[in-house]
Symmetry: D2
Subunit: 492 residues, 4 copies
């Protein structure tokens, strides 16, 4: 069983994130339960917010690997007992993917699988390698034939050509040659392996369900199957699970942890716990810091649904102003929708949102959103709220201005498209038509995650999208390669 | 162009309403704008919550009628410029359908269209006729051939065989012969017509966009296209729009208005205004009444997402207890999902919800939901919240106990499936495992909609699902016919 | 079960008949066997040459009617045990359809089914009614609502509104009001009925398989299920099969039989027996007559595949010249094919045929084809054979010049598109580039079917496409209605 | 553009060859015309008989390679101008595939494409390598990662890892390491290359269309685009076309040519010319030899359609007995068909064929077929003809008994399924119920292709399926590997 199904031909776009950054992937691996594939599919469903374009599961049944990969949502592709039953075995890994090219192509759907000399090997990757193109060119010169344009595939070829004797040695050998952000789960015919890059940019957690071990991106994927959260995988740690149990290795040189602070702002699900902190509480705390830094003299606090809601609740509590659903979201979005004709312009956000005009009319309101990326939506939301009769419309943003692109596994527009890289806050306020606009300060954000302030010499988190300080070298970038290996998809 | 496309073969179920009643239809009609079909599709998109199984639009272009009907969501079926461009014309009507049989069948998708002697005629219907089977049997005996099993089709045949000279006379003649709840929009080659049954059970509103008139189920469908809300159509009123403008008729004997009170509780979108009241405010008010009638000594007020949220906000405000998102919803549901195997039981609500355990742990909480129908979900939600560490879990319901089936266009389980028809509140509380459970009183509900109390002799609303008092005779029921005409779908 | 599936979205065109007339339908009915639907599907498969655009089967299982109708081939739509098993019952009827409008639309797929006062009734029709539009207008004026644009539906409405007491009386009443060519099979909850119009233009045969009676278009549909051929249904005969056995009625005034002579020329399968004569033998005999009337001094006799083959064998035998496969056909055609670009012109027939140049080179050849309709293909075939090296290319046609349109159930181009209606034989010969061209004479054709000659005063067959003498009045035509009722499909 | 579309999900089986061997592939390449992809699609259409399960085209446009591969027929997959226009470029290659595993899987669809150090490289292969598994194991041990289970992929990896400097050297290097039968067309960003293995088992011809060079399996693919046939590619020859024109290399040690004699018997299209002989003439000549070796005293010669027809014409001419179409084929087969229920057994061949009983009754007939493989169909055909009333039914086979499997690119059943490997001719005659049965002798077959007799010491053709003498070593077979590399498809 090795089909790649087209699944839902046109996967729905993330319904509510027109102007947001996109996490590229969610991963899940499990070892030691007869329902490995079903648990993996459920875990991927809980991680659906980390990637909606494609999904895949690989299981090992003691004899062979079984694969099902498809474009579209987990729930649309693992919807039959038939599929789950064919994914036999006590161990499995899975992957959700957000497409980084305009079009997700089937051969780029993960997990990747290779038949190595020692047997089959499957891998699922969250993050992005920053020297993938340099390594790929070297491998091709040595005769390697790539089947995809994913950075992840260089790991497979480095593994295949490593002279190490044991799989763990060979994988270490391979990872030593790559730079970048990665959380990996991998499956051989004997082992489940999880690795987090030395900087720990992307999350990876360890869980347990009875005797089965689980490695996955977020704790919400443990909750859905009733598994216990054991601990975060440590940056630079390789965890190996096999019939002898679980072992932990630290094969890389030690370095400073730099967890992505944007996971707290937007990427992670609010019910997940990351690096010891509940995401919902952090978001409420950001809202409270924001209310202290930039108060607003208004009648109502209104979240921009849905991602602005926790910060809006925190803001409202701190400010002592009523929290109200002033913007109603349409739950049903569909794959796409009619292109507006000339006569039906300015529809914009109305396909997804409507201002609750009967409630808003005559009120002074503050809208709370988590971030502004290109600035294409905020003006429409402000206009919609104002047209609904609001007397004043203020806006507060629960993150600092997004001024730099991410190269560690997040789909960010080029800098020239980032509004805060090109305009001042006042200019943005004027552009979106808000009576006032404020972003939380970078130190305010660090306070919300429990730090006294940002350590400017050696920041506690990766905040490159706000600061431009990239903790891991951007080797492909510096050598003039196109931004993303996946652009090669256009070539063949 | 008269194809019925299968569209999305397996339409998504209403994502968040496992244990809710289902409104059966939403309707929209527009007269006098070159983008009639595009506006209709947008209006139907805003009414998607009133029916997700099928959708259709019929336009008239001065020469011919153009049709596109399909299973699935509006956004999935009107997603190409091609389709919209073929639906030429300055007038159009449309319909969203919730299936009342297990399987929506294509020939039951509305609007219905017929080629009458006087020309084409299309109709879209929200509601349910209570004597449709009696009338149908009579028509068939006289030689009529039905193409569907919809109650709506009897109106077409009554119209076709009426001896009236003008369309309005013939439609009046037809409607005089039917009983039940109906809001209709109809389109001929000369007129747009809207009718609301004398009891006004189902909503219908009048709007205006520049020179174009609109008739639709809810004001949110006016908002999406930027139209102005003019007024509710009066119960028993027939509105006729043609090249001479708009006229209003009252062709039926006057009777007491009995608007469906459940529209406020759950069916309508919170941003709609119905019969002069904002739905969101009514729901908050229900929550406030509930807090007064049945307070709870707790730390947090948590909504059961998403329909419980406005009442929870009202409850929290009234009680002075923090409102918190203690249950997180997965936005991505997909068409279906793997059937849980024996080893993965009790998943239940976890596909859609997760308790925010990091926040809830050790707290006393009250959950606020809008209604309990069969009682199949509440126990899982209570259990999930308790497992997440809540010290006490109380539940408050923003409607009285649902004890009777609806025959006026809402899909209700048979009485033996309605938990409140078979158990006391205490028994239900025990069953769902709540530390306490309370429903708002019927008078409390009437207070929330602005009445002093329910007038027991002549209730101001249709509340048959709570009271068992049916304002319109159930003729088919009483004559022993099967509950719904559409069950005949099984026959041919 | 009442779905209409789209089946193969783009049904293959008749693979080998670019320039042929098209029979519009094949029908089949069976009574008294537990495998009624499976036998019907097999019979329709054997009749696939009579219509490829859509197919349908209706069965009756003692309680209800079961339907499966779809666009595309029989073998593509009745390919699962699942479908056949749902078509339960001991009696069934079925239909193959050739589309007469550009696009087959689902609601025009037969058998047509109606729920009459007396119970369900299904009908399948081969032929065409010549007063369908007149009758339809009258019925609509009386309040009938049509669900299709098929002429056949008027029969249903006439039946529904008949005052006759028994089904047979009502059907007789209905058929008395229509004019035209029809062979029908119909199924009620008690009877299988077969009718052939008084002129007997379209074929209908009676067969028997053990205790089961069969009514179908051609004997090849009996052969496939191993049934015995009993006899042709007589023109004007109504056969009724029920639990009391088979009865025969002659409810119409007697008239001269006028069987379609073109069935022998092209429509029927060569292994069928029609009106007592084997079709293959008749075609060989036409070839022999042609060789006598218009001999050719050549080296090889080459059929234009596949329909010219029997006549070519007859010609070769009579002339004593070798019969050879000088034109090879590609068995694989696919739904459509790339449109030739400017650089790839003149491909024409090469997608389907290739001249066997190694064999033809330097030879004098005669090509034998069954008919020339618009003349769009013959020139390409002659050119292809000449380019392959033939020294002389003669052409013989096994039917007289096709000069008139058919209104009795055959899809013919309008007269201005019929080449023989607009050019002399010499002009056609010049146009197609043949060294000589000859058509069999009308008397030669009559001799081949066993007559001494055509009886000019009262022809033994319907030969209107050659003679312009229409045996049944063309009432809709004469009243200025558009040629085909199905053109109304464009209206709604 | 690099999608692999599923195309027609269930491709039609070869319509008329229930009991035949299957050629596995047809190939086509063209260099030097702006319509390279369109010409390639047309050529593949003409080669459809060599493989119906999947098809693909790769073009090079001066900058990049463009690919379209899909399951199903050429005509179904290259049916839009859109697809052809995306396949830009002046050079292209293409491939038709017959699946050798039960299920064609998308990653095994050719042409194969790799991004090599020197640039892109595409290859299409007809034949089978007999040491592919041995070579593959060695390559995997050295770190190669295979993306398919096709034997062809070893050539790509040998090429990628070759130390040769020029592409031609590297390809020669690669091919020197493989054994087996292969005709290849390959495309780099600079060259079109064609190679035929030293034994020349599979065909490959050279053609020219204006300035464009063509390399393809059969001359019928030249005819369809109006190209001239130049010559057969010589066994062991490598032809290289680039901007400098055409060059010919002979890089392998010389050996005896062993062209597959079964190409004449069945695989090739009758209008193709192979190794200097017209296929149709050879087949007629086989029929004539058969009539001399094994005459039959009968009234009619009847071909088993369609592959037996040329030999039947030759037999009839030689014997002076009339040739008649005694078996009529149904042109319409569809993808599959209902599984016969218990009550409808013995349908067998009737879905495809029907005996022309009106003609056959009372006659003595000889049936001529090209081959009998498993013997599953012949008994049904004999029975059908006998039931149609034939007085005697004799059978003549236009090839010697098929007693051995092919390992050179033809899908043959295992020996235990080959009827002639397990039964004598008399036993087979009894089994199929023929009054007499005879196969042409091996020397008779050699005479029909123009030889005096088979040279037993050094046969002029590969006739291993008749003789068991394999001209190329079966290395994988001998080392105990499973018969076909593609069985590994089950593994991952």
């Amino acid at each position: 069983m090795s089909r790649i199904d087209p699944g839902t031909a046109m996967p729905p776009t993330h319904p509510f994130d027109d102007d947001k950054l996109h996490e590229e992937c969610g991963i899940f691996g499990i070892w030691g339960t007869p329902d490995a594939a079903a648990h993996t599919a459920l875990g991927l469903h809980a991680l659906q917010h980390r990637g909606q374009e494609a999904t895949g599961v690989v299981s090992f049944d003691g004899t062979q690997f079984n694969i099902h990969r498809a474009l579209g949502l987990v729930g649309d592709n693992f919807d039959s007992r038939d599929i789950i039953e064919k994914l036999k075995g006590d161990s499995a890994i899975g992957h959700n993917r957000y497409a980084t090219t305009g079009e997700t192509i089937l051969r780029n759907v993960q997990p990747l699988v290779a038949e190595l000399d020692a047997g089959g090997f499957a891998v699922a990757h969250n993050g992005n390698l920053t020297n993938a193109q340099m390594v790929r060119r070297r491998l091709v010169a040595d005769g390697a034939i790539f089947q995809s344009t994913m950075d992840t595939e260089v790991i497979l070829h480095l593994l295949a050509t490593s002279k190490g004797r044991q799989l763990v040695d060979r994988l270490t050998d391979a990872l030593t040659q790559v730079e970048g952000a990665y959380s990996l789960v991998a499956l051989s015919n004997k082992k489940l392996i999880g690795v987090r890059d030395p900087s720990g940019v992307r999350p990876l957690v360890l869980g347990k369900l009875d005797q089965a071990w689980i490695l996955t991106s977020e704790t919400c994927a443990l909750d859905i199957i009733g598994a216990d959260f054991v601990r975060d995988v440590t940056p630079g740690e390789m965890i190996v699970v096999d019939e002898n149990g679980l072992r932990s290795y630290f094969p890389f040189p030690a370095t400073r942890s730099r967890f992505c602070i944007f996971e707290y702002v937007y990427f992670a699900r609010p019910d997940s716990v990351m690096e010891g902190q509940g995401v919902y509480q952090v978001r409420k705390q950001i809202g409270a810091e924001l209310a202290r830094e930039y108060p607003a003299d208004v009648d109502l606090v209104i979240p921009v649904p849905d991602s602005g809601t926790p910060a809006a609740i925190g803001f409202a509590e701190e400010a002592g102003i009523p929290f109200e659903l002033g913007i109603i979201r349409n739950h049903y979005v569909g794959r796409t929708f009619i292109e507006p004709t000339d006569q039906i312009r300015h529809l914009g956000v109305k396909l997804k949102h409507n201002a609750n005009s009967a409630f808003i009319k005559g009120k002074r309101v503050v809208l709370v959103d988590d971030s502004i990326v290109r600035g294409t939506t905020s003006n429409k939301i402000v206009e919609m709220v104002r047209n609904a009769g609001a007397r004043e419309v203020h806006m507060r943003i629960a993150s600092p201005p997004t001024t730099h692109s991410c190269y560690y596994g997040v789909d960010t527009p080029a800098r020239e498209k980032l509004i805060a890289a090109n305009m001042s806050v006042d200019e943005i306020a004027a552009l979106i038509g808000a009576d006032s606009l404020a972003y939380i300060s970078i130190d305010g954000l660090y306070r919300a995650v429990g730090e006294a302030r940002r350590n400017a010499n050696d920041p506690q988190y990766c905040d490159a999208c706000f600061s431009g300080e990239y903790p891991i070298p951007l080797l492909d970038q510096e050598s003039g390669s196109p931004a993303q290996l996946s652009l090669l998809a256009e070539r063949v």
